[in-house]
Symmetry: C2
Subunit: 161 residues, 2 copies
């Protein structure tokens, strides 16, 4: 499954079978952005300054893991699945096997790994999506498994029938 540029296309819970794979676009993370994000949300030396980062576990300037998560979300929103109602996460898991470096080009591949109708709310279901965020060398920088709330397709005829 590839994302299309059709703005009227909207996916419902019924349209997302287990195994569906979505190739997302890519984004370059600039040095300025690494430092700007860290200044606001993760002001630690290894996210702010080359010299200070050299003698740390990272061995050089590294983006905050939450910055990698935020860029991944941007790619999901701007080039991912056009889910009816938007991409609304209930929670999930994430790991950061390697840090994002300034000038890395990030891209994301997502796969539907589980679907589940809501027990209490018949108008929606959960879709569990596993995403790999990789850099231009193919290194995996982040792995996430996120549960997304997705509306079910309205019955034909709907409320007006």
């Amino acid at each position: 499954m590839t994302n299309t540029a059709n703005p009227t296309l909207k996916y419902y819970w019924e349209d997302l079978p287990v195994g569906a794979t979505i190739e997302l676009g890519s984004l370059t993370v600039s040095r300025e952005e690494v430092i700007e994000f860290a200044s606001k949300y993760d002001p630690q030396p290894f996210h702010l300054d080359d010299a200070a980062a050299r003698d740390t576990l990272f061995g050089g300037l590294a983006a905050s893991g939450w910055h990698t998560a935020a860029v991944t979300m941007r790619l999901q929103v701007t080039s991912g699945l056009p889910i009816a109602g938007g991409i609304i996460g209930a929670g999930g898991e994430l790991t950061w096997p390697r840090p994002t470096r300034a000038t890395d080009v990030l891209h994301v591949v997502s796969e539907v790994i589980q679907i589940q109708p809501s027990k209490s709310k018949p108008d929606r279901g959960m879709v569990t999506v596993r995403s790999e965020t990789r850099n231009q060398h193919g290194d995996v920088l982040q792995l996430t498994t996120v549960r997304i709330v997705v509306p079910r397709r309205p019955a034909a005829g709907g409320a007006g029938a």
Copy 2:
């Protein structure tokens, strides 16, 4: 355990027993910041515009969950445990029971729930920290369980002995 303002105090793996609780500071999330973060990293209508948000699952403007995660990280860095080597997460789990709203005052309480020495690297260990991010009404907005890489206390005398 409460955070102190002593800038020379540094915690090593040995200083973080299971059950240690850390009260972090608080931060107000402004309306401008909700929209600014979303514009960059999660540009969906319910994170950007009151009117557009009204008819969505959120029922009104809501911060991106990744924004809540980023603000929580900021509180951990600026008012959390002064861990030797910094707060370096390897990954974790998160859920967002409720969205953060503009003007919410967030505060965080963290607890050490597991510690584990590294099997391969004797100079470090893992500390698993569970954190609750609450608003001014006591509502839980985010729950995280994050594994942090923490240096072990250097042996007395150290390399120079």
